[in-house]
Symmetry: D2
Subunit: 139 residues, 4 copies
């Protein structure tokens, strides 16, 4: 469906909560980082350049779904394996698999859309059809 990119993370003290384990919204943050790293690794320009060239602001989230299987803690290195497993007209779906060596820590999907500033209201954003050239870079 797409290339797979591996985003490596060293878990730090401040990423963990009073139970001593990663505070879970950090997993969402790392999946988002991994989404950005995925596109860069595929050769998609940074959003900053796409904004200037084509008005594309980024790929905000429409839906996330994550299952947490094992906790992680500071001092550990984990990996987010990121791909795109579904392409639709105006959305695509990331799959993120988070591993620590052989252990599966969590896995999740993210549904995202490419968006531009709404031409009728600069305060708002608006989904556009998946740009075919950018999609081709990811396959």
């Amino acid at each position: 469906m797409s290339k797979t990119h591996i985003h490596r993370i060293d878990v730090h003290f401040g990423d963990c909560d009073p139970a001593g384990i990663v505070f879970f919204p950090n997993f969402s943050r790392w999946m988002d980082e991994s989404s950005g790293a995925f596109f860069l690794a595929c050769g998609v320009p940074p959003w900053r350049e796409l904004l200037h060239a084509r008005g594309i602001v980024g790929t905000p989230l429409l839906e996330i779904h994550t299952r947490f299987l094992k906790p992680a803690t500071y001092g550990e290195t984990i990996e987010v394996h990121t791909s795109i497993d579904e392409w639709h007209a105006k959305t695509f779906r990331h799959r993120h698999v988070v591993r620590r060596g052989p252990d599966l820590l969590c896995e999740g999907t993210e549904v995202r859309a490419f968006v531009i500033r709404d031409p009728d209201n600069a305060e708002r954003i608006k989904a556009v059809p998946i740009p075919e050239d950018l999609k081709a870079l990811c396959l």
Copy 2:
């Protein structure tokens, strides 16, 4: 079912990303805050006290599912309406509905378990049956 608690949040500049909208993991953070506020509002003691009294460390996440319908930005006040819509033997499910006035911004569920330190390995945590007295406080 359960009581419903409303957690009010003022969105700040630093909660938003370069697209000018809330960076989505903050919604997970606010839902987590609202879960904690829900239990306190129901009369459940803080985790710190439950840890000393009964070994309960907290209610970590097993699964989250969130749909994002409209973005929010800084200067806005939003509300997380939190309840528990499913109780199982060792897990329960939160429902969080995030509103800005009449607008539905996002809604999500969280499956959580009450956990204790694993008696066989203090580094690990372990789910326990839902404590009936704590559940009763939430209904």
Copy 3:
């Protein structure tokens, strides 16, 4: 000098680290929130409006200095008392005093400047003289 604004914060589980106390960068985040709340309370329009009306992007930091006296933990409510104690040609200095009831938890200063996009390079920002009308609103 200036008016003083009080920003109230409920400390949550996820704001704390494995030592069970607030992870200190959160104090910087709360001081930044309090700076934003200070200006709004003084009647300064949100940065979003100032950007459209006058090109002002915000008031980024030039320097911070914070002393931490007592830790805070989740379940506590703390207050950031924010004022401006120095005005210079192109910078001003915030004073933030963080209290929990009678206890002084930390105190800090922030030197900030009002900035616009650099007309020669939209990727960069540039300090401007303190706008006298905005200053007047704060006194």
Copy 4:
């Protein structure tokens, strides 16, 4: 004074604010990460082990001072160069120099202490004299 450790950071979209630059408390977070990485690189065991072996919880902050010279944005890689430039009886001072290639982005100091749980009150922490063996590992 001490060894120097270099902590490398890829700046991500979610680390940046609506002005498109790194939200400054992230620099404090990265300096804290770099402090942890410094001690591990010097051979000091993780806090988790020191807690079990010697009751040491970590090295919380007493004071921070940071000057911000140039902003950073997503897509950039930056480095935190961390050392210890002062040792006192119960405190030490980190120096952190943050660079992006030849550019100096910010620099700061952190005064920290090694702490244990207060034997008279497990909710509180207490500074201890700098452990000479741990100091020796850092020189």
